[in-house]
């Protein structure tokens, strides 16, 4: 009994520690100060509700109902101060990055969609007054982004130069975050991490030696600027022979017990058919013999 009590006590302790940790989810200051680029309204809230129901409700429950999942740390009810005391930017950051059990939604929801979700969450906060970002428009690059790619086969590197054309003048885009991805069947595979352009707008990625391509080694690459709110969806695609050729045969090519009858092991086909032919051939021979008995009787009679 005492042991049982101790177990309960210690697990309570662990539990409360877990709770304590959950209260601390640090958000970088500049992230926390981030503001939505658009004003929240009924249509953003509606869109947000739809996204919330699909992606969040299975853990956080229905807002105000308190029917969130019993996890550690506890996923808070959206109505609770635990969530509403966050700044817009902090909420946006947490949705984007995730933590522990909470998955990151940066590849699932677009930045706009993430703001929709924030918009929906705020609809449960009566005292909330939105502050819309004004400088976003200022910050955004107004010119035309141009991405150039060059493949260095010797070092198996992809070098890219990013320039912008504004007012008929070309300038390097520096300190921009860039990602090189290889196209895969269900999504894009990031190669060599996210990098920043240098002062002349150059960035270089090392392509893994063993990156599988198609049967000739072709890989579909994409270079994209990740800060969409600054540069829009600037990207450039190319197909290059930079991967290792993959010529994996079909998985059902070999003769095997599990394959179709036409691809059965040869010894099995021979033994099965051999045995069947032998036995049924003999049975047929005996049927002929029985016929002979009949014929003998008939012959002798006449």
């Amino acid at each position: 009994m005492i042991r049982f009590f101790i177990i309960i006590l210690s697990s309570l302790l662990i539990f409360s520690q877990g709770r304590a940790q959950s209260d601390q989810w640090p958000v970088p200051e500049d992230e926390a100060e981030r503001l939505s680029p658009f004003a929240f309204n009924d249509s953003t809230r509606e869109a947000g509700q739809e996204l919330y129901d699909l992606n969040c409700a299975s853990c956080h429950g229905d807002p105000g109902e308190g029917n969130y999942a019993n996890l550690d740390p506890l996923p808070a009810d959206p109505v609770s101060p635990t969530i509403q005391n966050n700044s817009d930017g902090a909420l946006y950051h947490k949705i984007t990055e995730g933590r522990g059990q909470m998955p990151a939604f940066q590849n699932v929801l677009t930045p706009e969609e993430r703001w929709f979700v924030v918009s929906y969450l705020r609809s449960y906060n009566d005292g909330y007054v939105q502050e819309v970002a004004k400088e976003v428009i200022k910050k955004g690059y107004k010119g035309l982004i141009r991405i150039m790619m060059d493949y260095d086969a010797g070092q198996n590197r992809m070098i890219s130069k990013i320039t912008g054309i504004q007012d008929n003048e070309e300038e390097p885009i520096s300190n921009a975050r860039v990602r090189l991805t290889a196209k895969r069947y269900f999504g894009d595979l990031t190669l060599d991490g996210e990098k920043e352009t240098d002062s002349i707008g150059m960035v270089a990625f090392t392509i893994p030696e063993d990156l599988p391509g198609d049967s000739t080694g072709n890989v579909h690459f994409r270079i994209a600027l990740t800060e969409q709110e600054l540069y829009g969806s600037a990207k450039k695609d190319t197909v290059l022979k930079a991967g290792s050729p993959v010529m994996a045969p079909p998985l059902n090519k070999e003769r095997a017990m599990w394959n179709t009858v036409w691809k059965a092991p040869v010894w099995l086909l021979i033994s099965y058919l051999g045995a069947v032919l032998l036995i049924w051939g003999t049975i047929f021979f005996i049927i002929l013999q029985i016929r002979e008995i009949f014929l003998i009787g008939k012959r002798k009679e006449s």
Binding site: V261, A264, V276, I283, I293, G297
Partner: protein
Amino acid sequence: MALATPNTNHQFEEKAASDIMQPVGLNIKFHAWMGLLTLVLMACLYAYYTQLRDGLSVTGLRDYVNWGMYIANFVFFVAASLIGMLISGVLGLLGFQWIKPIARIAEIIAVAFAAVAGLVIVSDMGRPDRLPFVFLYGRVQSPILWDVTVVTTYLVLSLMLYYVPLLPDLAIGKTRMNQSHGWLAKIYDILSLNWKHYPEQYNILHKAVRILLILIVPTAFAIHTVTSWLFAVNPRAGWDSTIFGPYFLTGAFVAGCAALIIAMYFFRSNYKLHRYITPEHFDKMGKLLVLTSIIYLYFNINEFLVPGYKLKEADAIHLHELFSGHYAPLFWGTQILGLILPLILLLFKPMRKPLPVLIISFFVLAGAWAKRYIIVVPTMEHPYLPKQYVPDEWMLYQPTLTETAITVGSIVLVLMIITILAKLFPVIPIWEIEEKPNQTSNQTNETS
């Protein structure tokens, strides 16, 4: 290979022919018995109709235990049918003469069980209407295809082994047919294929029978080995065994001997064949049952001791269930009442007299059936991964009434086939007894 020499022992021949032909023909007892069987069969067919209508959900089978009573019954039928090969094939080829009066009874059992075994498998199928697919799209890699092939082959061989030695008897019988059975005489006439007892005909007959006997030995081995492979090829504790082939085969001989003894007893007393099926036969069959039981016991020890020694996790769960768990009463009942006690009792000569050996055979046969059940079901109840999130009744297997009725129906069918064959045609080969008048009459003298 002595040829029949007509008119050597005319008196005996007359007596044997009239004795053996005496029960042939349809009488009131036959009609009553068949009527009863038909009534039971109708009820069982209704059960099968509900299964066709509502699917296999009418059985106790579910996703974990997906094979149950039907498959156990199928294995039992295949096992029982092997006696035809043991008696005619093995003992016949070795030159034992005493088997001659009981060889045809053994073949009748073989034909009946092998024929219905196929139907039992069909009753287990979710889509029996697609049976032709097995022939249209058969995969030679599947043990089911091997099983279909060998069961068919065995049935054909058994039928031929029944029919070919029947030819002389049909010729003898048609001349002695009762007036009221003119239609039967006609059937005899057609089926006897102009048999006139010519030496040339006997020559061919002996040759054909010999070839058939040689063929049936490997076929019978194949049929039951392949049936055991239906289980042994699956990676599951309790089935994953390399000795399943011989284990099943020897078990089959035990079951078949018991079935034959029961049939012998029945025909002897009902058909008044005491002169031809003698206590000597029961004694010898009793000894044969002891021999097969000893070999079967030996395989049983192998099958349970070796995994029991190592106690690999999955095997341990399985054996625990058999030895002291849910299946312990059935398991120990089967092993003790159906194998060990019969084996010990039959070592004593008084126990090999017709009546005691009959009673023992009933226990052996019932044990043989239950043993198949124990081989099939407990293994399925213990898969490698846990059984969860399913209704409680899916966890353990409990055969339903419908399922039992369909199984009873298959046994009724076997009895019907045996009855019809044994009532329309002589159950003892007249001509072969004529061949050896002295030996048989000696035996007869001994008993009287």
